[in-house]
Assembly symmetry: C2
Homo-oligomer: 474 residues x 2
């Protein structure tokens, strides 16, 4: 990289905000999907919006690709610098700028860690609802890029339903201030479009987000089942009964074993084939009524045992296994391929069993965790990436599982994004015409296509449009 | 208009689907905001997606402006052919194509009337949640264009939270099929962006929408108050108590008088200064608990009386006044200017009173109805548009109210859209840079800008971009 450009960037961010290639730059070679690691030319960690804007202007003028990055906890390669270029991270922008308790919203910097926002407003009885499993580490800006979900999004909705405004540094360093209250949508929904755009439309440095009041009463249930089918059927029954729990999570046997063997041990019986977590929240009579109905369903479906808790510490213990599941799988194998697919809820049971078959056919170990309420499956394949043959089988099995889910009327990703990983599978769901319309939307934000290149849209589709071989409107 | 173009269009839609200028075309000169009426060159009513696409191709090749139209119940001039051209209406596309009861979704044509979808799925215990006051007449396609709300959107969210997929006829007649299940967002959220784009991105001919299960128990409360302030304070208390009613609506004195003098008479006492409607839904214990708390708050705030009902017919009677309010105002004056602004809920009481002052200063009669739960005010000015002086005062008062609401941290429109009416006020909330980014998004869908020209984005901003006087990124 041109030294004059590097020097100009260092003059803006200072020595703390610039990492040159070397050992310190290693963590920036990939996100959680390490198999596609790639070395960045430079890593920038600006301290605020002004520094970000100044850096973006220089990079734009120099024609350098830019890869925005939150905490790097993504699982689809979204923050991997696949085309080289410079990583621009938000790690130094983690302030809560304003808490508006009365109107239940906060203005925060993009690098704020998800759970830290809840810590900051907890004393006011408020919290930030979307809760990805990585919430102890992932940033709110990264959540925006991927429209992240989490167990409680079943009731409260994904990130897009909680972002009210954004301050965006555009591709050339200009600012787009969309932080004016979007109490209701007004004009084209540019904020909504930006959420989930995986770093290809700019870098949001400040966010205005909704805060949600803590429910007066929360009760968590943990049902232990002898079969995965019985756990799935309980979920169907709960939804058919029109109960509205805030979370519905299932863990399968291998996940339970991994959890119990780890520091996250939650006391789940190891002979269980499935664990179902149900959380109910609301006023005392609401929770009491719903709780009775949930317990009756779990028992009717043959739960071996049903535990419940209202006290925060006891509830945390019931959740411990779920929250620690991904970490615990490190004990099973050195690498974990976290698949992410969505299926119509009515086909959940059938498709869970078919992913088990696919894994078996490829001789792979599968641990499944899923947001059962919204049909979001996470079949996790435990493997060792140094074993090239196993790695190839992992990728083949992952692709088969996705294709199966899409054929059943599902979607390619529930919450992890498309990133680098799934761009070649986008055509399972979208025609070339659809993808070209996405590319036109991209060009409206970044005409030179230097923001996070090689992600989300298959590169071929964008190349064909650039070559002009596609007539307008085709 | 070139006769060959008209003949080609007639060959596609047949004589039933084409209206030439004349008496039958009169209703198409405006939507509900009649003051800006303008004659269309032609009205087309295609029978399905294929006819719509064929018409759009011909109109594109002929370079004719196109104004999409649902039922014309809009209130911001969104369907007014301000730049001439051809109206393309969806009135003949009103089929329910598929009801998927198990997965709670429906595939429908865009011209289906909002309430007819609920009628179609009622026997399965499902309904379509967004319920604009015009739901007996407005179409689902029109709801998509304006991201419509309604009383129950306080709990269930606006149209954008209920649209899962769209089949879009683009500016040149090509199809964009975004109906594949969007169980979770995937790729850029083009469907979300299209919702609320006010007919400027294409014509959605088919929609996949969410259906919501009817709550087991619904209870409606009607509190009669001697002051508007007491009604507003009750709303604040209900929200502060973290109760979650599905609707919170207030009607002021003039509205009550109009309703009681009309066929919609609901038995509201005429001496009341305000009526507050609260609806609670859920399971029996949920509703019982919430109902006790709501009643206690209304009584504590000095309600003159509190009525409640669970039975559907009795509930309908409590709602009759609210649902008939806009119709009833026809008795007060020949014209009604329905303002639409949003304010932070914490400032509701103060701003309602200030809109009353503004109306008084302009010697206008104001009847206010509002979705109090989400801070969405509808100060309705009763007037006679033949009185040019009064009309000028109406427009001046409306502008003052909007500016006031925006200054208080609110928004320009809650649910009616920007349309023709508010494009000149968009700069109250957006900078030129923001508006130019909207224009770039528009160009990604309609590079020749022939779809609903003169709406939403101030014309000046688009013209400057076309003239190329704005450098890229500025």
């Amino acid at each position: 990289m041109d030294r004059r450009v590097v020097d100009a960037l260092r003059a803006i961010v200072g020595p703390r905000g610039l990492i040159e290639p070397g050992t310190r730059a290693l963590p920036y070679e990939s996100d959680g999907l390490a198999i596609y690691a790639q070395r960045p030319e430079l890593v920038l960690l600006p301290a605020d919006t002004a520094e970000t804007a100044a850096c973006m202007k220089i990079l734009h003028d120099a024609g350098v690709p830019i890869v925005p990055r939150g905490a790097g906890t993504g699982l689809a390669g979204g923050a991997t610098p696949v085309a080289g270029g410079v990583i621009v991270g938000t790690a130094r922008m983690r302030r809560v700028l304003e808490l508006d308790v009365e109107n239940r919203r906060a203005r925060v910097e993009a690098g704020l860690v998800n759970v830290d926002l809840t810590h900051a407003c907890k004393s006011h009885g408020l919290y930030y609802a979307p809760d990805p499993s990585s919430q102890q580490a992932c940033t709110l800006g990264g959540n925006v890029a991927n429209n992240s979900g989490g167990p409680h999004c079943f009731k409260h909705g994904n990130t897009s339903q909680h972002v009210l405004g954004l301050l965006i540094v555009q591709h050339d360093g200009t600012l787009l201030d969309l932080t004016a209250p979007r109490l209701d949508p007004l004009g084209y929904d540019l904020v909504g479009l930006f959420v989930g755009s995986e770093g290809m439309f700019g870098i949001a440095t400040e966010l205005v987000v909704r805060l949600v009041p803590e429910a007066p009463v929360v009760e968590t249930f943990l049902g232990i089942f002898a079969t995965l089918e019985a756990a799935c059927d309980s979920v169907s029954d709960i939804i058919a009964a029109r109960l509205e729990p805030s979370a519905l999570e299932i863990l399968d046997r291998l996940t339970i074993e991994a959890v119990e063997a780890s520091v996250f041990a939650a006391g789940y019986p190891r002979e269980a084939e499935a664990v179902l977590l149900v959380e109910v929240e609301g006023s005392e009579p609401e929770v009491a009524g719903c709780a009775r109905a949930v317990r009756a369903i779990l028992e009717q479906r043959g739960a071996l045992s049903v535990h419940s808790a209202r006290d925060a510490a006891a509830r945390k213990k019931l959740w411990a296994g779920r929250k620690g599941a991904f970490g615990a799988m490190g004990r099973v194998a050195p690498d974990l391929y976290v698949a992410d697919a969505v299926v119509p809820r009515t086909k959940l049971r059938e498709l869970v069993l078919r992913t088990v078959e696919i894994a078996r056919a490829h001789k792979l170990r599968l641990a499944t965790v899923f947001h059962a309420g919204d049909g979001n499956l996470h079949p996790n394949i435990c493997y060792d990436r140094r074993d090239k043959d196993e790695l190839a089988r992992v990728l083949a099995a992952g692709d088969e599982m996705l294709e199966l889910c899409v054929q059943a009327g599902g979607a390619l990703t529930g919450e992890h994004g498309v990133g680098l990983e799934k761009q070649q599978q986008m055509h399972y769901l979208f025609s070339d015409a659809d993808l070209r319309q996405m590319c036109r939307a991209r060009d409206a934000w970044d005409p030179a296509r230097r923001l996070n290149p090689g992600k989300l849209i298959p590169v071929r589709v964008c190349e064909e449009m650039r070559a002009g071989s596609v007539p307008e409107g085709a």
